[in-house]
């Protein structure tokens, strides 16, 4: 939409101003009058755009700083991993409030969750927002993977004719974008100076008031219980499919016994072992992430073993009437704990403080342990049927 508009203005055809007239003549008849003139066949106006303004860099959409009901609803389902990779906004230049030639330019990613978070955090600030094409990934992850990069930033600065929109030569890049951006190279290639803004969007108003200076707190990442909690739905959603396959295998495995194969045993023991599986998933993908700083060891796999053991014992004691003997009990215990440990270790990829070198060390040590537990548990489970 934005780029299309710019092409029209840059080729010198004065379509946009006539559209304005049309829009004002319509404004009494339609609820979203000023937007009417921007409708085009094959395009849909975004609900977060309130109007367009005309600048030397072409027409720029002005976005709302308040989130609407549909923004919040889609935030909820994206947190569950639904439509996750198509939740994007078009890259390009936007405005918020009443930006002018002296307003700051805030750089961000084109993941809609990131975009929403930014506009909500800005309050009544007037600024430009330069959205980079990060393929729908947040700033930090995209910076790590190379899409939030020097190259992309320089390209967007040029493509949007940013120098026409503002009189200064300054862009504010979120601090976590520094993993993918070299301030020096951006300056060299585009003439724009990179100022690293705070980690969190909510700190931007204070950062701007403070003459583009961030204090130590604004520069450090946090991982509070709430921040951990909102990440757990995706953790659970990611294991649903493999869990279903494992459960199916458990039902089959549970049928083997003295009478070669028994469907009633498959059903009864299948349910019991699936409950142990669910307990392991719940422990590794929800309880351990939530209680992360309160479980003593530093290794996530060990944290998962501790949480998983406590949860498995609780669940297995409750079901003890349907488990045959100590072998069956031990089998389900090992199984549940191994699942918990593996998923807890998997959570290292989600946290903002684990180093790749540390994760590698942990995996080398604990994947064999988890595998052995799994093999022993399978043997014990079949053995316990006899």
């Amino acid at each position: 939409m934005v780029q299309k508009g710019q092409k029209i203005s840059s080729s010198g055809i004065n379509i946009m101003s006539s559209m304005d007239e049309m829009a004002s003549s319509c404004s009494t008849q339609t609820p979203d009058g000023p937007m009417k003139g921007y409708e085009k066949p094959g395009y849909k106006l975004c609900t977060y755009v309130s109007k367009f303004i005309h600048t030397d860099a072409g027409p720029i959409p002005i976005i709302n700083h308040k989130l609407k009901k549909d923004d919040l609803f889609s935030t909820f389902y994206v947190r569950w991993g639904i439509m996750r990779y198509s939740y994007t906004v078009a890259p390009g230049l936007y405005g918020i409030g009443k930006p002018d030639k002296n307003s700051e330019v805030l750089v961000t990613a084109n993941f809609k969750l990131t975009f929403d978070h930014l506009r909500k955090g800005l309050g009544d600030i007037n600024a430009w927002i330069l959205v980079l094409d990060t393929k729908g990934i947040n700033v930090w992850c995209a910076a790590g993977k190379g899409t939030f990069s020097t190259r992309e930033l320089v390209k967007r600065i040029k493509d949007t004719s940013l120098f026409k929109a503002v009189d200064h030569k300054r862009v504010i890049v979120p601090q976590l974008g520094a993993t993918g951006v070299s301030a020096r190279d951006v300056k060299k290639q585009s003439g724009f100076r990179v100022v690293y803004g705070p980690v969190r969007a909510n700190d931007i108003p204070a950062f701007l008031r403070n003459n583009l200076k961030a204090d130590k707190k604004m520069r450090q990442v946090t991982f509070t219980m709430y921040e951990r909690f909102i990440l757990t739905p995706v953790e659970i959603q990611m294991v649903l499919k493999p869990a279903l396959i494992i459960a199916l295998a458990l039902f089959v495995l549970s049928g083997f016994g003295p009478g070669v194969f028994s469907f009633s045993e498959a059903w009864e023991r299948g349910i019991v072992s699936s409950i142990a599986l669910v307990a392991g998933i719940f422990s590794g993908a929800f309880v351990t992430p939530l209680l992360l700083p309160f479980v003593p060891p530093k290794e996530f796999a060990l944290k998962g073993i501790i949480c998983g053991s406590i949860l498995a014992i609780l669940v297995l004691v409750l079901m003890s009437a349907s488990i045959n003997g100590i072998a069956g009990f031990l089998a389900l215990f090992l199984f549940s704990v191994a699942i918990s440990s593996y998923l807890a270790m998997n959570f290292t990829g989600t946290t903002p403080f684990t180093s790749p070198s540390g994760v590698e060390k942990e995996m080398k040590r604990y994947i064999p342990v988890q595998l052995i537990a799994l093999v022993v548990s399978t043997g014990l489970w079949v053995y316990s049927a006899f």
Partner: protein
């Protein structure tokens, strides 16, 4: 992050103080407050907080910092 710490002595972070020109950009971009300016030079004050994100390496104008994690 004081309440959440990962494994000690695993980071591959190296700071060459000879090459440091004292621009302090590393103290600005590091999300874990690993660096601090002491006089004219940057110092590593919290080595075990390093998560090898590479922000400092990317922005150091004198190539004084390196991290080399494996595949991750």
């Amino acid at each position: 992050m004081e309440d959440l710490r990962y494994l000690d002595d695993v980071s591959t972070l190296v700071l060459d103080k000879e090459k440091c020109i004292g621009c302090s950009l590393c103290t600005e971009v590091c999300p874990q407050a690993v660096f601090e300016m002491q006089g004219e030079k940057a110092h590593i004050v919290d080595f075990n907080a390093c998560m090898e994100c590479g922000a400092c390496v990317n922005n150091c104008p004198s190539k004084a910092i390196s991290v080399s994690p494996g595949v991750g």
